[in-house]
Symmetry: C2
Subunit: 438 residues, 2 copies
């Protein structure tokens, strides 16, 4: 076998021929070194969990029901767990019935099953730009034609959505669905305003399009604010994806889909073909966690952890960033989305940042269309506030130096698109690339 080319290339299905590991993998490997402050990975702060309680839960599951926990389950997932997941949705004001839920292997499997259910090669799916890397991955593995709608501080710009839907109508085409992360979006760090939710729902009805509502972060608003769910507005038209990765732990790989009954049935068949059934062990650990532990208090504890980290990051950004750099101001979850002057390419910047012992994800991977070269995502969920300040200081120094270099090359007036330092309309538009977490 030769090492320089892939001898299996001609054998692959068309869906994988264009797939290749992004350069960002190397970045993630380096970013995990202890000397580096990593704003790259989107890992939750699981250290805020009560591990002794988790130990009690796993013991209890194996001791009381080992023969069930170690056996196969059913494709839809355990009814007991689905009841708890419906209650979690209730916490956000969503009425859901356990029968309509499917337990998935994290939110990512939900995104993939839904793409498999609806998307033939070339089908159009509308998504926020930027959007979740894993959401793009699920869509591109089904060879979707992803069309982005830009965002601002109030989420997806629904006027642009309307334009796109009308354009498609003129072309005689219809999008399979609109993929949105309405709450504390990854990577945008913004939420869709209430008015826009209603408008999005109206447009979906008017243009007869489905909506995929991906909601990993809805319970992580720093003020405990809850937004109306698209699923509540247009239930027959919405497929909803949830996860316990941010409210309990990602290591149990437990998410879920809520879907209208006929779609649910198709998704169960796809899931059985994909991996038969979820792990009984992890399902029972999650259901025992929700049944026996103060999970709402745990979610509040997570919120508090992330609020403190977000404040540390935003305060440091205000102090350390040079003029011309803009960013969003999250009110929940994990992410700040930053735009740098167009003289700077964030792929290059990411490599240089590693030399300064700070890591982030450059913007291109968050778009399906190659844009995002002047944007980047900062995730503050993992480092301590002290380390966050350190990391932002390092990044600020790098950006100061880079801008000086750009000015030396182009002259002060020539730096393209130099804007004021902060903006309330900092558009989460732009692009990045890399392995991403759901």
């Amino acid at each position: 076998m030769r090492l320089d080319t892939d001898p299996y290339l001609e054998r692959y299905a068309s869906r994988v021929r264009g797939m290749s590991a992004s350069a960002i993998r190397a970045l993630f490997a380096v970013a995990s070194r202890p000397e580096i402050v990593s704003f790259a990975g989107g890992n939750p702060a699981v250290e805020a969990l009560d591990f002794a309680a988790v130990e009690d839960v796993v013991r209890q599951v194996v001791r009381d029901a080992g023969a069930t926990a170690l056996q196969y389950g059913v494709g839809q997932g355990r009814a007991e767990l689905r009841e708890h997941l419906a209650a979690v949705m209730g916490q956000e004001g969503i009425t859901a019935h356990a029968d309509d839920l499917i337990v998935t292997h994290g939110g990512q499997q939900g995104l993939e099953l839904i793409a498999s259910c609806f998307v033939d090669p070339g089908d159009i799916v509308i998504a926020e730009g930027p959007t979740y890397v894993g959401g793009i991955g699920a869509l591109t593995s089904c060879q979707a034609d992803v069309r982005h709608v830009a965002m601002d501080d109030h989420g997806m710009q629904v006027d642009q959505l309307e334009d796109l839907l009308q354009q498609l109508q003129r072309e005689g085409r219809r999008a399979k669905y609109i993929y949105t992360i309405p709450n504390h979006q990854n990577p945008g760090g913004v939420s869709l305003s209430v008015e826009r939710r209603h408008r999005l729902a109206e447009l979906a009805e008017q243009h007869d399009v489905m909506v995929l509502e991906d909601n990993p972060y809805g319970l992580l608003d720093f003020a405990g604010k809850v937004y109306p769910s698209i699923l509540e507005l247009i239930p027959d038209r919405t497929i909803y994806v949830g996860t316990v990765s941010k409210t309990f732990a990602p290591g149990v790989r437990t998410g879920w889909i809520a879907a209208p009954a006929p779609v649910r049935d198709k998704l169960v068949l796809l899931r059985e073909a994909a991996d038969l059934c979820p792990s009984s062990l992890t399902q029972m650990v999650v259901e025992t966690w929700f049944a026996s532990q103060p999970w709402r208090e745990q979610v509040e504890a997570f919120r508090d952890v992330y609020r403190v980290k977000a404040e540390a990051m935003l305060t440091a950004l205000d102090t350390e960033m040079p003029d011309g750099v803009t960013w969003t101001r999250p009110s929940g979850a994990f992410y700040v989305w930053m735009t740098v002057p167009s003289g700077i390419d964030t792929d290059d910047l990411a490599a240089k940042a590693l030399g300064r012992r700070v890591a982030f994800v450059p913007g291109r991977g968050f778009y399906a269309d190659g844009s995002g070269g002047h944007q980047l995502r900062l995730c503050y969920s993992q480092p301590s506030p002290e380390r966050i300040r350190e990391g932002v200081t390092r990044l600020g120094e790098l950006l100061h130096d880079e801008l000086e270099l750009v000015r030396a090359v182009y002259g002060a007036a020539g730096v393209p698109q130099l804007r004021s330092r902060r903006t309330d309309e900092a558009a989460p538009g732009g692009s990045a690339s890399g392995q991403e977490r759901g």
Copy 2:
């Protein structure tokens, strides 16, 4: 929403339009009632596990490494676990390197990822007939054109394989791969002879075709016999799927793929799009099990359990079955494949059998082409030997009655294809339908 038709029908991708829940689901639901002796599901006898030891293992994982066990992992799976899985392969004489393995969500995810990696709609995949229902599911969800090769007591009939490969060559086509379960095949209950393994490897080389070797049962030979692996014979051409479902427990949903490096890289990308990464918790439970427990002795204990059950079933079949019914005689694992006279349809028989408080899986689901209507699968892995005898007696009474009815309708001479009661060439040919286990 109307209940009589699916209002989402026109929206689905072509891969799911033809998918529908098989009637066998209802059968499985009924088969789980305690008064019924179920030979239907392929669940391992997990009750043979030492649950106290499992409890120790899960406690240890959370106590010693909770922050890792509850966090995201990497798409390929933990290196520590892959080392153990390579050692499990070594137990069957296979040399494998942990780098070449991918941890999957059970063997089923392996089958699905491999199908996704290679199969475009209409591509040909060759499989034993009958074969694993979940293997067919993975292939049909990629819209493969599945071509069966019949089996006899020595596994896939390689002469027929050669004929098929030559026919495809004449048509200017090439199969994407040959899917085989060489050891104690599900549902055939037979193993591919050593001579035929070599011939299959030669044919694969000669016709430039890949092989998918699915090996859930290799360590469950009643005499501890180990067959040569196709992977050892033609390593550059073989993708191998393993699972801990039969050597430890299915509830942890842990399997693996061994693949040449370029294919492994593509499979990792597909897996990340599918569900990001395996559960860190279940991976660490499995690796701690292999590291700290006498897992080889546990496998021997499983073998002994299944050998006793197989003997109970075969002895009862010899006594209870009427003339004209034939079946295979497994030397390992879980399954007996039965052929009934052609006057009897096994879909109908399955429904009548429930009335007699015994369940099995009718043959059609084990074929992609609709054959198998006079065949059925009996799985003896779950019931006790006493219950197995009871169940076989009930099935024997039903078949006696059914044959009497057939004779009354057609006359004694008219029962088609009436054959001698036992045969050493009982061909596992025919077909069944239903949800199946990997």
